[in-house]
């Protein structure tokens, strides 16, 4: 029993990384006032490109870790490009963000699937990235397995949480992001380029979503498939609401949802006869329940969220 629980908890951190990165990216978008529902599509593209590079380099066999690094880099870059594209649509042309995000999601998922069939074909696995035990700390019983025996990206992602907090609340860039997401007109009158700032946030958010996707394909699943993302992008968006646009609370949310996702694994490993489908449903149900409790009276929400800015139109 202890072994099962330790096992489950030790899966929590590595399995939560994709959600965490994507949510933090979405947090930057929303803090700047842009609701990017295309996250799912960007993750799909990141996941595809991320696995494509090590796959092509090694034809499925072992490759130098540098190709994985290159995979992550390419995924981040592609994600950033998608962020830029979404900026053109929603910031420059001021298209309604919700439905445009759905378009981006379909485009991303569709393109990833199309390219995957052409360049890879069927299910092909890649070696992925190894776990790194942190000296001494990983020796501690239980704690070591749960916290200090994961892959490099997992450590980096969790180190990024305080960094994101610092960026958002202690730097000028963070100040600008928060200002354009709350009162863009005020930011504008202070000489801040609202559109540019939103573009910047979208690029950063897109890069993080791309990384999140690549993490899924390179580090977690070690392969790509059409159903690899299966709603994680949307859950990431929901997590931002759940975490009240705050990095630490978002981290808590990511862990909670991952726990729900690992539920199916425990069920199987404990040999309880419980329909597999119901276990898979759990995180999705959880999203709805959580949103039901947190969506009302969102005082902390960036007040310009979802509203395009136009200097010449007074509201």
């Amino acid at each position: 029993m202890v072994a099962i629980i330790t096992n489950m908890l030790s899966m929590c951190i590595p399995f939560s990384v994709a959600l965490l990165l994507a949510s933090l990216g979405e947090m930057f978008n929303q803090r700047a006032g842009v609701f990017n529902l295309g996250c799912e599509g960007v993750m799909a593209m990141g996941a595809f490109v991320g696995m494509l590079i090590p796959f092509l380099a090694g034809k499925g066999g072992a490759v130098s870790q540098w190709y994985n690094v290159l995979g992550f880099g390419a995924a981040a870059l592609l994600g950033a490009l998608f962020g830029l594209f979404f900026g053109v649509i929603t910031v420059t042309f001021r298209a309604p963000q919700g439905i445009a995000g759905i378009g981006l999601q379909m485009f991303g998922v569709g393109t990833a699937g199309t390219l995957f069939r052409h360049f890879v074909g069927g299910t092909q696995s890649i070696p992925g990235i190894p776990d790194v035990d942190i000296p001494l700390l990983s020796e501690i019983p239980l704690i070591g397995d749960i916290f200090f025996s994961h892959n490099v990206m997992a450590y980096l992602a969790y180190l990024f949480v305080p960094a994101a907090w610092y960026i958002l609340f202690k730097t000028y860039w963070g100040l600008k992001i928060r200002a354009v997401g709350t009162n863009p007109r005020a930011a504008d009158s202070m000489g801040i380029n609202v559109s540019l700032t939103r573009y910047e946030a979208l690029v950063v958010g897109g890069a993080l979503a791309g990384l999140a996707g690549a993490y899924l394909s390179i580090a977690q699943a070690k392969m790509f498939s059409d159903t690899l993302i299966s709603g994680r992008g949307f859950i990431a968006v929901a997590l931002v609401y759940f975490g009240h646009w705050h990095p630490l609370q978002i981290m808590g949310g990511a862990l909670l949802f991952t726990l729900a996702q690992t539920f199916q694994t425990i069920v199987q490993s404990m040999g309880i006869s419980f329909p597999y489908e119901l276990a898979v449903m759990l995180p999705y149900v959880l999203v709805i329940v959580v949103l039901s409790f947190t969506s009302r009276n969102q005082i902390t929400a960036p007040s310009a969220l979802g509203k395009p800015f136009n200097r010449e139109i007074r509201t």
Binding site: P96, G98, G103, F107, G110, T114, D226, G231, P275, L291
Partner: protein, 361 residues
Amino acid sequence: MTKSFRIAFKVSIIAVAAIAAILIASIILWMIGADVSDTFYVIIFEPLTNMLHISEVLIRAIPLCIIALGISVAYRSGIINIGAEGQMAMGLLAFTGVALAFPDVPRPLLLPLAMIAAMIGGGIWGFIPGILKAKLNVSELLSTVMLNYIAAQFYSLCLRTIYLDPAEQVYGTGTPQSMRLTENVWLGRITGRLHYGIIIAIVLAVLIFILMWKTTMGYKMRASGSGARAARYGGISVGFYLALSMAISGAFAGLAGGVELAGVHRRAIEGITNNYGFSGVVVALFGGLHPFGIIPASFLFGLLIYGSTLAPTMVGVPANIVQVMQGIIIIVIVTAQMVLSNAYFQDRVWRRYQALRKKEV
């Protein structure tokens, strides 16, 4: 500003939008080394070359049309329903349930009963995000997507368990599907696989037109969607109409499932929803959220969807390309709409145009 300029402005924006969409799709096709023009030909014109193809296009247009009609009702009431996929699945389950439970009830009774069950199944699945939005302000974009995943799992679960074809249990091939449904719930066929669902779709389009523009209920739904605050101040209970519109929207998606099942598959299998729920969003937008625009739009997208199934064998292009195109089309439509409604931009273009003309004189 002259009228001819206004028309020219509109036409050129639409042209630019169309070119942009084709260009982006071409880039993707070029990346996978496909022959771009051949691919477009196969997807858009090949399905029109013979009657068999055309009937296949129409078969796909039927669920698209019904789903898009529902989505347009919700959209006009101020709520974006991207949960038609799940609502359709719930409709399929309800329809199958009735058909399996009462195989001996005569057709004139059973068919409508099963269809109503499908509407209720989808309607409930649409009502949930509607009421969550109205009462608790839950983003319908997120809740409907989540309900899609939940419905998909639930659908598989049912096919594997309570609906599983007894024959499968005997032979143990393990294909999750129901037995062939009783003939009493079949929709008749006109030619080939084309069934009478097409009439249902057209009748529903007319009904939606009357509902939205000729009744007080439609007025109130549109008011809630166009100016929720003002509608509330005007004594319209916006939340009620939001939830109602989603229930209608879901019922239509459920009905689309019932029609698809009764007309085409006649047994519940995996993959019936076929992304129609998402394509329906594109159709609704492309049809201008108007029933008489949705009818031709659903034909067009039926064409694209069927065309894309021909693409893998004929030009070696994966069928996913249709999803790519739909994504681009949504983006291009909403972007072009914003540009068209941007009076400032139009004004600027007009003045630049005038300045140019002055120079020429």
